[in-house]
Each structure stands twice: as C-alpha cells, then as structure tokens.
Amino acid sequence: MPIDILMPALSPTMEEGTLSKWLKKEGDKVASGDVLAEIETDKATMEVEAIDEGVLGKIVVPAGTENVKVNAVIAVILEEGESASDIGSSKPAAEAAQKPEAEAPKEKKSDAAAPVPAAPKAPVANEAASDPSIPEGTEMVPTTVREALRDAMAEEMRADDKVFVMGEEVAEYQGAYKITQGLLAEFGARRVVDTPITEHGFAGLGVGAAMAGLRPIVEFMTFNFAMQAIDQIINSAAKTLYMSGGQMGAPIVFRGPNGAAARVGAQHSQCYASWYSAIPGLKVVMPYSAADAKGLLKAAIRDPNPVIFLENEILYGQTFDVPKMDDFVLPIGKARIHKTGKDATIVSFGIGMTYAIKAIEELSKMGIDVELIDLRTIRPMDLPTVIESVKKTGRLVTVEEGYPQNSVGTEIATRVMQQAFDYLDAPIITIAGKDVPMPYAANLEKLALPNVGEVIDAVKAVTYTA
C-alpha cells in the first residue's frame, strides 16, 4: 500500500511551514532514513526523512510551497510492485490514522488562538489602530510577535551600548524560539552572550551587571526554568533599590515565553503573571499583540527598574500590524481598550486575549456589547481603566490561563469590589486555568485551559442573559 509522507511538526506549536526543497525526485529509490526534503518555519529548517523504503511515487507539494499545514500529505512512497495509479487509495486510511493526534492542537488553536494568518486579517489591524499612542495615518507593517520582539531589542541595542542580551542559545543558535535571530551578526558576541544552562547563576550575574550600571536583557528559554533563578530575581533584582535606600537598583529585563505552549506537560506549562505581580520592586508586562510586544519591550529595556516580560510561544508566530515609527515606545502600566462596549467588561492579557476576542465576536452576534480591556501590564496595574469601564458596564469577567487561586483575576476582583462595589450589578467572574498541573493528553490539556465557551457563558451570566 502506498505510504503517505506527511508534513511534520517541528515544534509543539508549529501549525504550518514552507516546503523549501526536494532532495529526491519522483521515481527515485529511497531507503528508510534518506533525506527527502527540507522544510522551513520561521524558527528552523529541518529535514524530512523517509520512514520506509520504496520508490518516491509522487510529490504532492512542490518545492517552494509556503504555508503547508502540518499533517498535509507532501509525497507518496510506493512499495515494490506498486505504481502511481495506486496512489489515492491510501489517503482515507492515512487521514483516519492521523486524526486523533492532529485533532487536539488544531481544535485548541481554533478557539484558543486566532488562526495563524498568511496575511494579516482585518480585525487584527483594528487593534493597533485604536491605540491612542499611535498618530493618525501612521503606516502599519504586518509583523509577527517574534519579529517585533527582535526589532525592539535591536533598536534599543543600537541606541545604547549598555544594553546587551544574554541567555541560553541566544547567539549562535539564533534563539531557541528564534527571538534573537540576527542579533549576533549585528552586535557581536560581546553583546549577544550565549550562557551555560545555569539560570540561577546567569540571572544573578545579570543582576550584578545591572547593579554596576549595564542594561542586561536576560532571556529565559522559558519562564518555567526561571524558577531556578527566582531567588535572584526577587531577592536581588527587586529588593536592592529599597534595601540600599535608593542608591542602586537593577535596570534589567527578564524575558521569555511564559505559560502553556501545546502539550509540553506540567513542568513546561505554567503562567507566572500572578507570581511575579505579587512582588514590590518588579514591573510585570505581558503583551498580546506584536505592536504591544515591541513598544513595551522597548520601554522595559529603558526602564530603570527590573521588568519581568512575559511572552507566549503560541503568540510568537502570529502577525499583527505594527506602526512604522522611528521610536515606537508604549508606556508600562497602561491598559489598552481593545474594543469599547456597554453591556459588560472583560479584562484579559497576553494569550488570554485570544479567548476573549473570540468570545466577544460571538457575544456581539447575540446582541451583547462587551468592552474588552487588554491589561498589557500586570504590575503596576492600570486599575483606573478597569474601574472606569466597570462604572459604565456594571459587570466584569476576567480571563487568563494561570492557576485560579490568587490569580490576576482574583486580585482585580478584590480591588474592583473594594473600589467600585456600588457599581457592580453582578458578582465578578474570574476565568482561569483549572486548579491542576497541566496534563499532557490532548483532551485533558484542552480541559485544563480556559475556553471560549466559558468566557461566553460567564458574560451571559453576569449580564443575566439566558
């Protein structure tokens, strides 16, 4: 039976890639392990190997094709005695076999994240345009969050020699998630520093360099690994300014992917927004869009305080409009009203926004007009913007992926209750991840994360809509 060669996933979050090159042609004999083709994503280039021996019967996806979905059939291998005419009979079987595996991430994305667009879509463009910090008529450039982060670092490194980036695989490998791509070539090994895999040590080293007046950007491959470094982040970076009576602080940015990616299990799927937001002496930023990622990272690098900059692997590849400005810097500590509305307020941030955006689209079809606030900064928190909105709508739902106890949402709920109790027309609902370590199984992971349905139900509940 002909064997389908499928587009492989190169990482837990990859959804599509480019088939850059075929190394075998139709009719070639192939053995198991032979390299058939090269595929490329924005993160890496990888080889596709034959999984069985036979003859390359048909190339389904020609070289140079972009946006090839993971699990799409890219070629067919024929076993001995088969001919091209046999191709086709195998397809249904292959699809059926692949389905259970493919389903989970796909379904999760379909309501968890806006689909990765080949070109930016209209609703996305509206987000940045509504930002008052961008002058009317500014040209918008479709940019991935990944590129936006890199551009922010590069611009700040060009402007200030004291800024440097250090972390695991940031230099020669071009970044484990390709955020630092190209920086080594431009700035050299003095300013783009590959570290050993020793988070505690290099976080402390970075803080020491900051205390001496440099402006380090410390990349954690993921914030899950930063738990090894949390003592230096909290005890040294956050507290030194206070303990020294204002004499010296630590102008440093700790950044990297935070929260769940896709099926990477309990130890690699944790959101630290509420953890770090508990600490006086830290600023905590968690952008959703590429424009915010760029403008806020530039602000974080310039900030004289330690800033925790929480990114998200699933958002890295997503494209948003970023204003083309010489120096686009956003204020830390200011929320952004993603959409105005009058019936209820949703407050979210980071990847939580993807659930909220989907939900308000559905809710608007039901005639419920939601105001959606993207918090952007968790600490200091722009509570006035939230309170103003609640005064208008009287109803509040918060959405985040982190654990439910002592979440950012419960903090918002407490403070809104204290400061705007008389304006509330319904109990606040806080939507968060479930109170469990992240499971691996696709279906369980989906259950552990928030979903659009929960957000819709919550808004219906606070607006007393059946």
């Binding site: 040590g201 020491g208 360099a209 005890n235 030194t240 020294s244 009576g245």
Partner: protein, 346 residues
C-alpha cells in the same frame, strides 16, 4: 607555615595546605602599612564590640553577624585595591563596609535602623550599600552575592576597564550550587573576579568537616581551571601578598582566582548563637596565639615603629570614632513614615 595550631575537629594539617599551594608569601609591610593595618583592624574590632553591646541593649534588632576575629582578611584585601574596584559580600558585612571607607556613623545608624543609616534604615545589618565606595552589599541569601559579584566583573570586562571585583563568601556558601554556576561562567569568559572564601570553619554551627566533602576550599575551582590558594587569613601581610597577586592576575586578563582565607570568628554565628559546637579552649587558643591585631601590635612594638603610648593614642582615637558613631546612631531619628513607600521603583 601552619596557619594555626588548634586541634579542633576542623583543624587543618599543614600537609593539606602545602598540597593546595598555600600562597605563603608575606608582604614586607613598612611602618606606614603596619600602622594603617593596625588602625583599620582595630576600628572594625571596636566597632563590632560596640555593635554587640548595642544589640544587647536593644538598640539593634534582627540579625547581627559580627566580624570579630576576621579583620585581617578585609583589611589586607582592601590595601591591594585601586579606585573603581568593587566589593560585594554576604551578611557578615560590617567589616567590609568599614574597610571600604564607609563612615562608622552611617553604618551604625543603619544597624539601629535610623534615617541617617546608609540605607535610611531600610536595609539593616545585612543590607548596606555605597555606590560612592563601590560597595555592592550586604546580601542575606547565602551564596547570592557570588553570582552578583561575577556580574560586577562582567560589567568591568564589558566596559573594557581593568577594574576587579572582590566577591567574598564563607565556607558555608561555598557549597551552594550557584557558586559553581558562577565559577563556570567566570572561567569561561575570563571575568576579573577574586573569589574570597572566608573559611572561619563553621557554617553557622556546622564545621567544615561535617559539611564539606572537600574542605580545602582553594581547590574548589579545579574543575573550572580556576587557580586557588590557601592563605593565612589571620596575618594581614599574608592576606595582602595574596591579594596583590590575585588582583594582578585578574587585571591582566587571566580570569578569576580563588583565595581561601583561613580565618576564625570569635563570636557566635549571630547574636543568638551560644556557639556550643566548639570548645572554649579552641576559641581561646585562636585569640591568644593568632589574633590578627595582636600580631601587628607585637611587630610594631618589636620593630619600634611606634611606642605603647602611640598605640594607645590610636586606640583612643578609634574608640572615640566608635563612641561617636554609637551616640549618633542612638540619637538619630527613625526614618519618616513616608519612607515606607520610597525607593521601591525608580
């Protein structure tokens, strides 16, 4: 040169010292050096004695770790530094601050938690800093300052200056994981940092013999290719000789170096420690046979650098400075309540 003759559980055999390459060198101090070392060590001694008294009287709260017995280490090291070199240490830090040239009044007022303290009363015994004197604290988490001090050295190298950072830590901190993470990076990147392990034999109440598989701490950099020397930390001239060599090593771009200072604290780990884990004899023996200040004093008198009366005059001057600092620190006001919310963010 056996560093000491004590026969306690943690006593080192001279052979072990030889094996590690005990630096052995002694700087031939001239009269001015001897007098300077004497005065500075005495200042630390008297300051700490006063701090102990004020603690007993309730003027100093919380944790207070006295440096008495170890004075030769910071004084000898500091005499080898130049402008711009940085110092960072753990929580037994009063001696380091005074050696760096920080004012006794400001340090004592911090101990009493008053507004004129170096951190305006917000740091306390374990957390004082002086940007002006290049003193970077004052850190309360065992071993934390080792990574930070490595970062200070990183900044020197990044800027291309020839300054050196001194990262002090104890025999207890020497077993912390991040110390070795820092060693690795410092050796890898040839960072100009002198790691000074003040081996006073007890990590709180646990002797090095009971806590450390390799209690010759000068060897701890071996697997990173970091050279190390054991130094008689009770002899300020030996400390100085090792310091000169170590600092020159760093300044010339050869990377980090380790100095294990064989020293001893006379007091308990902190004020609440009755030090039951060692014998009174052991302490007495160190005091009577190896006291760093008495050693200098004896030489000064023997070589007639100064008379008994001259030394008494120095002692009087030191006592006056300390008494003034103590008076100041008791009379100074507590920080204004508004200080609670300052210096959290810039």
């Amino acid at each position: 040169m056996a560093p000491r003759k004590s026969s306690g559980a943690a006593a080192r055999k001279p052979a072990a010292a030889k094996k590690s390459g005990l630096a052995g060198g002694i700087t031939d101090f001239d009269k001015a050096d001897e007098i300077k070392a004497y005065g500075e060590m005495l200042m630390i001694r008297r300051f700490e004695e006063k701090a102990g008294q004020l603690y007993g009287m309730g003027f100093i709260g919380g944790f207070c770790h006295l440096y008495i017995g170890q004075e030769a280490v910071v004084v000898g090291m500091q005499m080898a530094l130049k402008d711009g070199d940085q110092v960072i240490t753990g929580y037994r830090d009063h001696g380091h601050m005074l050696a760096c040239g920080m004012e006794a009044r400001g340090v004592m007022a911090e101990l009493t938690g008053r507004r004129s303290g170096y951190s305006h009363g917000k740091g306390g015994s374990m957390h004082m800093f002086s940007k002006e004197k290049n003193f970077y604290g004052g850190h309360g988490i065992v071993g934390g300052q080792v990574s930070l001090g490595t970062g200070l050295a990183f900044a020197n190298k990044y800027r291309g200056n020839d300054n050196v950072s001194l990262a002090y830590f104890g025999d207890g901190a020497a077993n912390q994981g991040q110390v070795y993470e820092s060693f690795n990076m410092a050796a890898l990147w040839k960072l100009p940092v002198v790691y000074i392990i003040e081996n006073n034999r007890y990590a709180m109440g646990t002797s090095t013999a009971r806590s450390s598989a390799q209690s010759n701490f000068s060897l701890r950099g071996n697997s990173f290719g970091i050279p190390g020397h054991q130094v008689d930390g009770m002899d300020v001239r030996a400390v100085h000789a090792a310091a000169v060599e170590a600092v020159a090593h760093c300044r010339s771009g050869k990377g980090p170096i380790i100095l294990e200072m064989l020293t001893y604290r006379y007091r308990g780990h902190s004020m609440s420690d009755p030090a039951k884990y060692r014998s009174k004899d052991e302490v007495q023996k160190m005091r009577s046979e190896h006291d760093p200040i008495e050693q200098v004093k004896a030489r000064i008198l023997e070589l007639k650098h100064a008379s008994e009366d001259d030394l008494k005059a120095i002692d009087k001057k030191v006592r006056d400075v300390v008494a003034d600092a103590a008076d100041f620190a008791q009379a100074d006001k507590e920080p204004d309540a508004s200080e609670l919310y300052t210096d959290i963010l810039l």
